[in-house]
């Protein structure tokens, strides 16, 4: 049994113009202790999938099909009180912006302590404090005795993100969702945070699902990468495979559109057009309008390609996945 299993998840957002079909049959699983990356552009449904698993979706969201099981429990069957027992305890979340994730009027130590107190009612305040300091130390906060009692605004962005990571680790969760955890950080600091997440996964054995728009960043630390497009999974592969043996034209286009490091190309590869309108999602292949590797195949405009196995740990949703030529991406 996998730690997390998302099965055929369908999700709509109610808007003034009608329902936006944000997720249309998303299935994936996360094994205990693994690191999975979800990659895609704005609006592809990567954050919605994760918020659905945490049951933190906004009120205009409606699950219209499928389910998510975590450690064998069907999450959508749980009462809110049962969900609260899981959140911050068995599963935790790291948000993109650490300033909005922390309460500005509470001391850091208090906020981290709350996570422990909520799930361990019998803990004494001395035990809680010891645990908070230990965790802050573990994520590399210097001078913890003093700094733990400061307020979030006294901490820099990188330190705040460390506090949020420490908070997510407080109760030794089995699964952490990290939604663009380095997006608001500078390059050298974001390298520190990535190292920290990798260490947490390796040493504590918690599974991490990391969301990002940056394929290169995700594949640096993830074992497995899911590429999402228009509310569906376009491709699923190991980090190594996604670079050298991608079998989906969208993934390939994303890789080629990124400026390379090795040689300076005169022109970057571009993806023409824009993602489909999710009010009226396409019946056929999501990517057909923008695909440059269709090769005139009529089927692409008629039938939606199923996500099918193309290798031992590799799946792609493309009618032509077997015919796509190998592509070397110079990084």
């Amino acid at each position: 049994m996998s730690l997390l299993e998302v099965k055929d998840l369908h999700l709509d957002f109610a808007t003034m113009d009608g329902p936006v079909h944000a997720l249309r049959g998303v299935s994936f699983s996360v094994e205990a202790g693994s690191m999975v990356g979800i990659v895609g552009e704005s609006g592809c449904g990567k954050s919605a999938s994760v918020l659905a698993a945490m049951r933190l979706l906004p009120s205009n969201a409606k699950i219209t099909g499928g389910g998510i099981s975590f450690q064998g429990q069907q999450l959508f069957d749980l009462r809110e009180s049962q969900m609260r027992e899981l959140r911050g305890n068995k599963m935790a979340m790291i948000f993109q912006d650490p300033m909005t994730a922390l309460n500005p009027v509470d001391r850091i130590s208090k906020q981290l302590g709350e996570t422990v107190e909520y799930h361990h009612r019998s803990a004494t305040s001395a035990q809680v404090r010891a645990k908070v300091l230990k965790m802050l130390e573990a994520v590399g906060v210097p001078d913890v005795e003093r700094r733990a009692d400061e307020y979030p605004h006294q901490w820099s962005g990188g330190m705040r993100q460390r506090a949020v990571i420490a908070m997510s680790l407080m109760n030794e969760p089995d699964l952490i969702f990290a939604d663009e955890p380095t997006a608001s950080l500078d390059a050298t600091v974001s390298a520190q945070v990535l190292d920290l997440l990798a260490t947490a996964q390796a040493e504590r054995g918690c599974a991490i699902v990391m969301i990002s728009h940056d394929l290169a960043l995700v594949s640096e630390i993830a074992d497995e990468v899911l590429v999402m497009y228009a509310g569906q999974i376009a491709e699923r592969a190991t980090s190594a495979e996604i670079f050298s043996e991608s079998r989906h034209p969208y993934t390939r286009a994303l890789l080629r559109a990124r400026p390379g490091w090795g040689r300076r190309e005169e022109r970057l590869f571009t993806i023409a057009g824009r993602p489909p309108d999710m009010l009226h999602p396409p019946k056929a292949c999501n990517f057909v309008e923008r695909c440059t590797e269709r090769n005139g195949l009529a089927l692409c405009a008629i039938e939606k390609p199923e996500l099918r196995t193309v290798g031992p740990s590799h799946q792609a949703a493309c009618h032509r996945s077997d015919e796509l030529e190998m592509m070397e991406v110079a990084l």
Partner: protein
Amino acid sequence: MSHPMIKPVDISESRTASSSGEKPEIVVEVKDLKVHIPVRQGLKKGIVQAVDGVSFELVRGHTLGLVGESGCGKSTTARAIMRLQESTGGQVFLNGEDITHASGQHLRKLRKHMQIVFQDPYSALNPRMTVGQIIAEPMRAQGMTKSDIEAKISELLVTVGLQDRHRQAFPHQFSGGQRQRIGTARALSTQPDLLVLDEPVSALDVSVQAQMLNMFSDLQKRFDMAMIFISHDLTVVRHVSDEVAVMYLGRFVETGDVAEVMEHPLHPYTEALISAAPGIRPGRAERITLTGEVPSPINPPSGCRFRKRCWKATEKCLEDPPLAVPEGGGHKVACWHPNTANLAASSTIRLGL
């Protein structure tokens, strides 16, 4: 709406490229530029040394990439050059003229020659103005006639890959990439000699980013401008720039030809930045993870400003580091312990300005 690629359109006013054999013309020259901003933190008073002694030259048709982490002063440098921020020391020359203290009508005239595209396309455009009005504003400020402006708007929209019918629309009707095109059209409207692009693709998705980068290269070739491209993304800077300047706490720590600097970084900070960028660790080298964060520019460390995070720092680094010039190249580095192993075997480093 689609993003049609830019087609080469013959524009009579567009300058011919400097291929006619004339020698490169210096558009911008910056000499020891300083921007010190007084601040109060509670009862304490301090001075933020946002930019502290930056010098460079930029010729027509070239792009300078400004790289560094937030707060290093890259945007402030550009804003001081554009006179959107008062400098407190040094000089800025535009087309050979000292514009450091230009004011009033004269400054307004000068603005014709230098334009900027801002990072956030959502806040850079007035939501109550139509696209046509937005693009017309700089031209109105320069006193162009109404009929000239109208003709120019259509031309500019096509230049940046939009359509003439878009002039009646409002910014909210456009995607992030399209808004950035509108901002670019506005900046190009006065045919500037200097175009500053302040993180113009940071807010955009990868696929849109590629379209925009292609557009900027096309525009530069066509209009033969000098460009300053500000970004924290090294791969992007590498793609669009000819030269690069790496900034740290208000100072340039390394400058030179973009390929040379990126492939043979001499400064430890440049090495760390390159190694921190995802997916581009050359040769899959072990990542250099710096400790700590950028210190406050209010009380920057004495001597070399990077020394507190540098694994090579010695007593000597308490003094100011010199700009070292390797023989036979424009590659400069401000470090007492540059990574000379990264230099081509033939060149040696000469210390001193």
